[in-house]
């Protein structure tokens, strides 16, 4: 068991024993390889079930929305930024959440690991320092961990929690090493027709399960526009315009709020890269408004306020 897991269990146990919180929201060991499960520990004994691995790929801020009581939550950089966003958007009360901050090792992409073993059944995967050990019924192989991180983790700008009540382990390197502005660059070089063609190719396999929306801590509308039926904005079938409308509008609703946590891509059962859209939107927000979501509790989100200095105000 890794040291962070041990520290996490101890912290959770202490908070629950002292009655500081009603619940600690973290992860527990998943039942299948490469997937941990969001977990809600209510007792010091249950705190012993918490784990922290590279397969903790959801965004736990999501579970704070609409939740009663006082909750502690495990938060690396992106998750803490989303919590800050939810506090700013009046979805979470700062006094009701106890943030257990930590440094993200860069989460892993199970799809990339699976792709190394076509037609072979993987039965167990564990991390061993800088390596990943992959086991099947008749094989065991070691992979270099840094090659199998999720795409968003390579361009992470805040790996340490930015807002926390206590911090587990040591603060680590703040960035993933990659240039986040470059993620959007391939799109910028394309003309509109090419962009559309690429967008179509990427999003056409969507099965409309809405896992991307439902794992996202930004998507907390009481009624999502695709679920509205009076009037109905969007058809329910597999017609491409309806699929595309969902993804484009959802991306726009997230502009200036997305922390690039990657939960949507990790959740998507068909492997759609939603960051194709959000990377460009967030780059625009950085460049036009000099703003990055969730770094503090004070700066208003740029698209939620009007200012005469707004870059898009007609001169």
């Amino acid at each position: 068991m890794n040291e962070i897991t041990q520290e996490m269990r101890a912290a959770a146990k202490r908070l629950l024993e002292e009655g500081r919180v009603d619940c600690v929201i973290g992860y527990t060991k998943g039942t299948v390889p490469m997937r941990e499960q969001p977990y809600f520990a209510y007792t010091p004994q249950e705190a012993e079930n918490l784990v922290w691995t590279g397969f903790c790929v959801n965004n736990l801020a999501n579970f704070l929305i609409g939740r009663s009581g006082r909750n502690a939550v495990i938060a690396q950089g992106c998750v803490s930024r989303n919590i800050a966003g939810l506090i700013k958007e009046n979805q979470v009360n700062r006094d009701d959440v106890y943030i257990i901050g930590l440094h993200s090792p860069g989460m892993l992409d199970s799809g990339k690991i699976e792709a190394e073993f076509p037609d072979r059944v993987i039965t167990e995967v564990e991390e061993d320092g800088e390596e990943i050990v992959v086991r099947g019924r008749d094989f065991e192989e070691r992979l270099e961990r840094k090659k199998y991180k999720r795409n968003n983790c390579y361009t992470c700008t805040h790996r340490n929690a930015v807002l926390y009540d206590e911090f587990l382990g040591e603060q680590g390197p703040q960035t993933g090493g990659g240039d986040i502005d470059k993620v959007a660059a391939p799109w910028e070089r394309l003309d509109p027709e090419q962009r559309w063609a690429q967008f179509e190719a990427e999003f056409k396999d969507c099965i409309r399960c809405y896992a991307c929306r439902n794992v996202c801590p930004l998507c907390y509308c009481d009624v999502c526009f695709v679920d509205e039926n009076n009037p109905q904005w969007c058809g329910k079938g597999q017609e491409e315009p309806d699929i595309f409308t969902f993804h484009i509008i959802r991306a726009f609703h997230c502009a200036g709020r997305c922390t690039d946590c990657g939960a949507c891509e990790s959740a998507c059962p068909v492997g759609i890269k939603m960051r194709y859209l959000t990377s460009k939107l967030e780059k625009d927000i950085r460049q036009l408004y000099d703003y990055q979501p969730g770094l503090d509790l004070e700066t208003p989100t740029p698209l939620a306020v009007y200012s005469s200095n707004d870059p898009d105000v007609a001169k």
């Binding site: 299948v32 997937r35 977990y39 809600f40 999501n62 059944v121 019924r137 059962p269």
Partner: protein
């Protein structure tokens, strides 16, 4: 019916025969995953795979299916009259369908072909015109548990023919008259082939180590099971997306929508999901399954309590897709085993 055999090198001959009378679909490789696709007689057929990502239920129950069309113009005498969709034009054949996915169709017959009065004509049309040639499972996934839900890696239920991969050749087991006529030209299997297939069946069944138990679920009455305390925790990590229901080969709930564009309209049915709050929302504003717990409970109660009680079949074939695809690792096996636990201990 007696077992037959065919060398893999000669498989294209059988495929040609199948393709002469049917539109043939089979699992094909697409990057890292296996997908269902139309195959041509000269195409190389895959025999080495676990299972397809998606179930083939869409061939009988498409995610979006047009039921009728109409002219959206009440001033036209021909307007607003629903015009029936023509049925499937020929016969289709699903080649190398896994036994679990084939059995799922038999389970769905209980829903869509329950009786003459409620016959689902859209399902029945495709069902009657679909031939199923299965491929037995050699290497079950860690999420598979077919053996504990009245199915198995060599289950024959619902299939016209079962193929068993014996390396350079296939054992071909006709199971229906259709299967018999399609395989009539093939050589009789050697006794050794049938024995080898039986050994493979035992090995595949033994490879499935995690299952479910349902004794207590079966014994309890519905309300007792409904109030099982396990439901107080199971839903917590669920995000209420539709992934499990859309990948499930036996989930069959749908929504009906009228869509119009200018003066043309159509009535479609689309897969729906009980995980969505909208699924049960009434026009009055009341929602009988208003909370996440209610919705998660519904999915498991439906498959493992209501369907066994009502139809005598478990609404699950143990393919494990819901578990392997779930973004938050809700494992159907753990859920059902929790539902089966003693209450009050």
């Amino acid at each position: 019916m007696a077992d037959k055999r065919i060398d893999k090198a000669d498989f294209h001959k059988l495929l040609e025969k199948l393709a002469a009378e049917h539109e043939v679909f089979a699992p094909v490789r697409d990057g890292a995953s296996m997908v269902w696709s139309r195959v041509s007689p000269e195409q190389e057929i895959e025999f080495e795979f676990t299972n397809t990502d998606s179930s083939p239920k869409g061939y009988l129950f498409p995610q979006t299916e047009r039921l009728m069309r109409f002219k959206n113009d009440s001033s036209d005498p021909q307007g607003m009259i629903m015009e029936e969709e023509p049925g499937i034009s020929g016969k289709q054949l699903l080649l190398n369908i896994r036994p679990c996915d084939a059995k799922a169709f038999s389970i769905l017959d209980h829903i869509f072909e329950r009786d003459e009065r409620t016959m689902d004509v859209y399902w029945k049309d495709k069902r009657d015109n679909t031939v199923l040639v299965g491929l037995a499972c050699k290497d079950p996934c860690p999420t598979c548990f077919c053996t504990s839900v009245e199915c198995g890696p060599h289950s024959e239920e619902g299939l016209d023919v079962l193929l068993v991969d014996l390396g350079d050749r296939l054992l071909v087991r006709p199971l229906t008259d259709t299967g018999k006529s399609l395989t009539a030209d093939l050589d009789q299997a050697e006794p050794g082939d049938t024995e080898e297939a039986a050994k493979q069946k035992d090995a595949a069944e033994a490879a499935i180590t995690q299952g479910i138990t349902m004794e207590n679920i079966r014994a309890r009455n519905v309300l007792e099971e409904y109030e099982h305390p396990c439901f107080d925790r199971i839903f917590e990590s669920c995000i209420n997306c539709g992934t499990c229901t859309f990948y499930c080969p036996t989930c069959h709930c749908f929504d009906i929508q009228d869509e119009t564009q200018e003066d043309l309209g159509k009535r479609i049915r689309v897969w729906d999901t009980c995980m969505s709050w909208l699924f049960t929302q009434h026009t009055s504003g009341h929602n009988p399954r208003g909370g996440k717990k209610d919705r998660v409970r519904q999915r498991f109660m439906h498959k493992f309590k209501y369907m066994p009680d009502k139809f005598g079949v478990i609404g699950c074939v143990g393919c494990g897709r819901c578990t392997s695809k779930c973004p938050v690792n809700i494992d159907v096996r753990s859920v059902v085993n929790s539902m089966d636990e003693q209450i009050g201990e």
